[in-house]
């Protein structure tokens, strides 16, 4: 009897699965798959990003679509786990006529998808994260680390510190510690920092923190003993607020701490409040932008009509803006592709790749879309998939983030040779022939 019920339940479930798996064909809609993590250890940071991403897609639809082409989207929750992220990718890539572009917001998933995306011919945008060497579009045809990479962030961090010290020569003998999430994400900047340490003679200390980063007593004990002049923080999620609390407990000045943009948002500092006052973070382009026009549009067109995603207060926060701008870059890639392959048509992944490779967002266009004061121009090419390396520093004043520096640009002379070297090694390992400038013109 029990067995029969079990068999019955199993077959019912199988029927459910097969119908759940059947994709519903929808014509004339540009499908944006959305990989999100609203749960798990990194959920508090993943949620605003996802809300911003989805809100922008909704905003484009509210404004009439991309030249009349409406956007459809579907979320898939992966909880920052690489294997589930890959499963989500496989699930969504073929739905509704094929995914336009994937943005995983996870360095681990980016690594896992880099080869799969090339086979499936779907571009991978990693706005501000991912593999640093993938800015070389000749080797990484399908990766787009738009708005800068970790190497850009690390490079500007050193430039900013040098400025404070009165020049790069004054860095000699200084101690800089990198407190990093012990994963490919946290390890990315090490290569660049080592290069810079060699150039300027500062002493680099590497202090790894194990996932998820709530246990940092030993790390901060080392900082207390060694007293580094500056601390760079490459953390994510709960690790960031823990670091700042530990700094407070150790008495390490927060003014001397610089986080990458993953460690420079409201969830990281809010709980610490006053204790985080003076803490700095590098913003790859934008910070918190509650006064920008695009935010006002979102509030008016979506939240005003009860169609917004997530709480209203979140609109304009750092991670929300990151999601919103990430979506904008994907949408602009589609718009650019339409200029070549036919306006008002649904673009394939391959066509979108061309669009992303020829992205030309000048200041006028950005201002027109409501990003005045938020972003500086982004211009990509076949060989440069990054498009911009503008960075500002912002500082937490106990209640909100304020910009505390001018615009910086990463030093091409330092980064370019490293990019060429690492991507060349990758091409050799994978037996990829880099594209020549002639092939790019096609």
């Amino acid at each position: 009897m029990k067995l029969r019920n079990f068999a019955l339940a199993a077959s019912l479930a199988a029927i459910g699965l097969s119908s759940a798996l059947t994709a519903h064909a929808q014509a004339k809609e540009q499908f944006f798959p959305v990989l999100v993590y609203r749960t798990g250890a990194y959920g508090p940071n993943g949620t605003p990003w996802a809300n911003g991403y989805v809100d922008y897609l909704k905003l484009v639809n509210a404004r009439g679509g991309i030249n009349g082409v409406k956007i459809s989207f579907e979320e898939c929750e992966f909880g920052y786990a690489t294997d589930r992220g890959v499963e989500c990718y496989e699930r969504l890539k073929g739905k509704h006529g094929g995914g336009t572009v994937f943005q995983p917001l996870s360095t681990g998933v980016t690594f896992a998808l880099t080869e799969k995306a090339a086979v499936d011919k779907i571009p991978l945008i990693t706005a501000g994260y991912g593999r640093s060497e993938s800015q070389n579009g000749a080797v990484f045809n399908w990766n787009f680390p738009l708005l800068g990479t970790y190497w850009v962030g690390a490079d500007v961090a050193i430039q900013h510190i040098a400025k404070k010290e009165g020049g790069l020569d004054n860095l000699k003998g200084k101690k800089i510690a990198l407190v990093y999430h012990d994963s490919p994400y946290g390890k990315e900047p090490i290569a660049l920092l080592e290069e810079r340490a060699r150039m300027h003679g500062f002493n680099l200390q590497l202090l790894p923190v194990a996932h998820p980063g709530v246990e940092q007593k030993a790390t901060w004990l080392q900082i207390r003993q060694n007293r580094p002049d500056y601390v760079l923080l490459w953390g994510w999620g709960v690790m960031n607020s823990t670091s700042i609390k530990e700094a407070q407990a150790t008495g390490y000045p927060r003014e001397k701490m610089y986080g990458i943009w993953w460690a420079g948002a409201e969830p990281d500092v809010k709980d610490v409040g006053e204790g985080a006052k003076g803490y700095n973070a590098l913003t790859l382009q934008h910070g918190a932008e509650p006064n920008s026009k695009v935010v006002k549009d979102v509030l008016a067109l979506l939240h005003g009509k009860g169609q917004g995603t997530g709480p209203k207060e979140e609109v304009g926060q750092v991670l929300y803006m990151r999601g919103l701008i990430s979506a904008m870059l994907g949408v602009e890639g589609v718009a650019k592709a339409q200029e070549r392959y036919g306006k008002g048509k649904v673009m394939t992944g391959e066509q979108v790749r061309w669009g992303l490779e020829n992205l030309d967002l000048d200041q006028k266009k950005l201002d027109g879309m409501g990003f005045a004061g938020v972003m500086r121009p982004v211009q990509t090419s076949c060989l440069d998939h990054m498009g911009s390396s503008w960075v500002r520093v912002h500082t937490w004043d106990g209640g909100k983030w304020n910009f505390s520096s001018d615009w910086y640009q990463a030093d091409e002379k330092v980064i370019r040779p490293m990019v060429m070297l690492t991507s060349g090694k990758y091409a050799e390992e994978k037996k990829i022939t880099p594209r020549t400038p002639e092939q790019c013109k096609q």
């Binding site: 699965l17 759940a20 609203r38 929750e77 080869e115 090490i190 994978k430």
Partner: protein, 358 residues
């Protein structure tokens, strides 16, 4: 009525000692394998291959390995993830450092390395047992997690610590499409499952089971505990290591130590416990339960919601997924503490009597 062995007389030792002495079992299994080789590639789509079938096959292999050690020899291990990692990283190093290393050789060498390390970490089992041994194997997990994160040589000095492998081929057969990958995993799994089944029926398997049931008594009747325990560690680590190499090479393509974290070790142990300790079939059931069920729930719940006109957010679905999954584990452990494999054999018992149960 259909499943009844009446009239199947064994007239020689050979027929009596074959793997599946019952005619119906033999043909069911053969039909199942034939279906897996011929039918599945025709029916399944890419998503099913990449997201469900390939992970299922590879983790079944790993669960099989863990089952040999935990289920048959009674040595609890919490280091299975580490041995997967050793298999993957060893195979990776063999593949990139030795020119022209064939894929199968790299996989097997990865397994052998893992077996050697398994023997070393099996040594404590000669002195401690039960929960204490579990802690000792936990040391393997932490040590190798640390080693693959910190020792740059293992990852070929890759700046991010993530390694990747591509261009797989076996004797000129390019493994590129999901079907190729599936078939490769399936071939390896079938061969290894056959090996395992024969091993546990043979002398060595009987030694393991004797050690599991009572090691003092086993020693009295002339079984050397050192040999039995260490061989169990070696064989188990070999299986797990090959599975780890496949996981890295075939399923992920590029990986980092987090792919083989402590969670993976627990996952494998749960597979074995839920599937059935000391049962080859149970390893497959356990792997299917742990791999397929969460993904199934994740897609089934929104569909169920849409039936009654509810749209459930992905975050809620994911919370429900954890709750239902946890509840089901508890349910199965209460209803069938001997695992899903026991459910299977109960089913067979019932079939024998059907349609006239007494």
């Amino acid at each position: 009525m259909i499943y009844r062995e009446n009239g199947q007389f064994k007239t020689s030792y050979k027929t009596d000692q074959q793997i599946f002495p019952i005619f119906q079992d033999r043909w069911t299994i053969l039909a199942l394998i034939a279906f897996a080789f011929v039918g599945v590639p025709m029916l399944a789509d890419e998503y099913l291959f990449k997201a469900i079938l390939i992970p299922f096959l590879i983790l079944s292999l790993a669960a099989l390995g863990v089952n040999l050690l935990v289920g048959y020899c009674g040595q609890i291990t919490l280091g299975a993830g580490a041995f997967m990692a050793i298999g993957a990283y060893a195979a990776y190093n063999f593949a990139i450092r030795v020119d022209g290393m064939p894929l199968i050789a790299a996989l097997l060498l990865g397994g052998c390395t893992s077996a050697l390390v398994g023997i070393v970490f099996g040594v404590p089992s000669l002195r401690v047992r039960g929960l204490y041994l579990a802690i000792a194997t936990l040391a393997a997990q932490f040590f190798w997690d640390w080693a693959f994160l910190r020792i740059k040589w293992f990852t070929n000095h890759s700046p991010s610590g993530s390694v990747s492998i591509s261009n797989l081929d076996v004797f000129g057969w390019r493994i590129s499409t999901p079907v190729d990958k599936y078939l490769l995993c399936l071939v390896i799994l079938v061969v290894f499952a056959l090996l395992a089944k024969n091993m546990v029926r043979g002398a060595i398997g009987r030694q393991w089971m004797a050690i599991r049931d009572m090691d003092v008594a086993a020693e009295v009747i002339g079984i050397r505990p050192m040999y039995a325990k260490l061989s169990a560690f070696a064989v188990s680590s070999f299986f797990v290591g090959v599975a780890g190499a496949l996981w890295g090479f075939v399923h992920l393509g590029s990986w980092e130590p987090a792919a083989f974290s402590i969670d993976r070790s627990f996952q494998l142990l749960f597979m074995v416990i839920i599937g059935g300790l000391g049962s080859i079939m149970g390893s497959f059931f356990g792997a299917a339960f742990i791999i397929v069920l969460p993904i199934f729930l994740n897609q089934f719940l929104p569909w169920l919601g849409s039936l009654v006109g509810l749209s459930i957010s992905v975050a809620t679905v994911s919370h429900f997924e954890f709750m239902i999954f946890g509840a089901l584990i508890v349910f199965f452990l209460i209803v069938e503490p001997h695992g899903l494999a026991r459910l299977w054999s109960t089913g067979k018992e019932k079939l024998r009597l059907w349609p006239f149960p007494h």
